[in-house]
Amino acid sequence: MNYLKRAWYSVSRRKGKSFILFTVVFVLGNVIAGAIAIQQSTGNVEKKMKQQLGATVSAEMDIDKLMEEGDGTASFTGPAPLKEETIKQIGSSSYVKDYDYSYSGYLTVDKFKTYQMKNDNVSVNGDIASLNLKGSNRSEAADFKNKKIKLVEGRLVSKDEIKNGKAVAVISKKVADENGLGIGDQMVIDTKMVSQNADGTSESQEALKHSIEIVGLFEPITLDKKKSDEKKGGIQQQFLEMDQFNTIYMSNKLVRSINQQEIEKGKELDPDAYKDEEVQQQITPIYNLKSPDDVEAFKEEMTALLPEGYKATASTDEFDKVGGSVQKLSTISGYVVILSIIASLLIISLVVVLFMRDRKHEWGIYLSLGERRKHIMQQVVLELLFISLVAMCLSLITGNMLGKLISESLVASDALTELQQAAGNQLFISGSSSLGASLSTEDVINNYQVKFSLSYIVTFLISGISTVLLSAILPLTYVMRLNPKKIMM
């Protein structure tokens, strides 16, 4: 009849007391388990989404900051373009696996048909149609690599064509269809110069004709995914869509050459407007990192090297924009875990101390028989563990269900919808990222799952057992102070 057997008999024969302790541990265990389940799920969704978004970091103009400096208006003087040396210096970081940089251009077109958004209520830039040029030093441009777009016909721009700056490009299938063009055709992009008059009207003059061979056609991937958003008629989504369809992918050399021609033509047609215009080439670097875990550290390193007016933008930033609700849930559940552990420590300690006082006669008997205090303590801990383990195993299941229920009701609540809208607005202001990553709150919520994982079980059992063991400290000090004479005589 050692202390192990005594502990077992005490638990199994003093059913009322065991049930009370079981209920206390079970209820508190549910709170802890639920909070851990939510916290782990939020952590998992963040990790999963960031893995999906990839470890890509870019340098972009800090539009928010520039607008702030320009008194909230969009009329600001942009910062000087990034220098290739700066891009290469950043690219030498140990976090970087490889990097590319992209020259970009913007062409206002005349007869060449562009893709226009379907919303009749919104007019984009009046009647001005435009195309975006995106250059690359690699055959597989970042948008292809990051699976923002996919090649549906033809091929990518070859290495030799990139090296020589040959006039070949990959355009969207939609724009090709609009203009009745196909693979191997020469598209002629006729640009125009638009100048504003004092009375608010605008005048346009024909500028240049750029003849470029179409070698491939692409279709967006991420936009396909958002059909549900499109149905809702989100203007923001349609802007992004239009931006993407009207993008032409070519070599950096070709973009630079077109930009140069356009500026020179501008100077020729409208010397006043272009008198201060330098041939400035906007470059956007794209760094692929070795691991998504390095993103924050690399961003910090990169920000220090970037000139004023630029900021480091990571593909994973999209999650931070739209995943606010999940992160908030993670923070709240973290607090709940800590508070419930503290509450459990206090409540279990008090309950056990009360039960111990009830049994002081029993402890006195053991001490008068010469039992070692450590064995009495072990009996107390074992009894607590027997009951707690059963309660915790049950609350492992019910707590997970509780976490699921709470998460679902929170996700369905208005609070999250508001957050979703706020995130959407932010995205609208920022425009589409050069990294191509596009994510909605819906994606985050769809990926959010409260799972019954091994790490959940281990985390809960470790924190649960530790809490129970810590809560035994106070009762054990009671055993230490027991005086058998006072109890027995």
């Binding site: 009849m1 005594r6 005490s10 028989l369 010469g370 027995m488």
Partner: protein, 224 residues
């Protein structure tokens, strides 16, 4: 042969600013195979004396020697575990255990060498004391007062110690039961060569013991 010796024991209770002296330089010896009783008025310190020789408390000065060694040197816990057993007036059994299990608890705690078949030994002891197997398997709260005291005696015997101490062991029992318990004590001393020391207020029990001490004003005196 002296098995237990109290030497110059001094003990007092602090009552506010006043000291209430219970034992004043008291010395007494106990031998194996003898049945002792200690008499005294209420509050004279009988139970205190018992708590000192059972190592539940320690004297302010003086020493208690077991087989010539101070029990403080032996260690109070070890002394209680291996050398002495105590029987209380209110039985003090673990309420959720059976009679058999209560005996087995003591047998597990002691470091004394006992026969390996603990359960059989415990059943035999209980049977010797008057608790049959059927009652031995009952939870102790289902037994009468007399039966519970028998279980307490069986528990005291189970550890095979030399000294059995009892504090008013028949205080809650009727006269018939009291006599049965006294007979057991006498048998333990005579047949099993134990040193049995019983604190009591009953002169009837004292008359049946081999030697009686009377505790008065802090002195233990031989009582004829």
């Amino acid at each position: 042969m002296t098995i237990l010796k109290a030497k110059n024991i001094y003990y007092f209770y602090q009552d506010g600013d006043q000291k209430r002296i219970i034992l004043n330089d008291t010395s007494v010896s106990f031998e194996k195979g003898q049945f002792y009783t200690i008499l005294g008025d209420s509050g004279s310190g009988k139970t205190t004396f018992l708590s000192l020789i059972s190592a539940l408390d320690e004297p302010k000065s003086g020493e208690i020697l077991y087989q010539g060694t101070d029990i403080q040197t032996i260690g109070y816990g070890k002394y209680r575990r291996d050398d002495v057993s105590i029987i209380f007036q209110n039985y003090n059994l673990v309420p959720y255990l059976t009679a058999l299990e209560n005996v087995l608890v003591a047998m597990t705690i002691t470091d004394n060498s006992l026969p390996k078949n603990h359960q059989e030994v415990a059943y035999n002891l209980l049977d010797y004391i008057g608790i049959n197997k059927n009652k031995a398997d009952r939870v102790v709260t289902q037994l009468s007062g007399g039966e519970q005291q028998r279980v307490a005696i069986a528990r005291a015997l189970s550890t095979n110690v030399d000294i059995i101490l009892a504090d008013e062991p028949t205080g809650n029992l009727d006269q018939e039961m009291e006599q049965e318990i006294v007979n057991i004590f006498k048998d333990l001393a005579v047949t099993h060569n134990k040193c049995v020391i019983v604190v009591t207020h009953s002169k009837e029990i004292a008359q049946q013991s081999d030697k009686t001490f009377f505790l008065k004003q802090g002195e233990l005196v031989h009582y004829e």
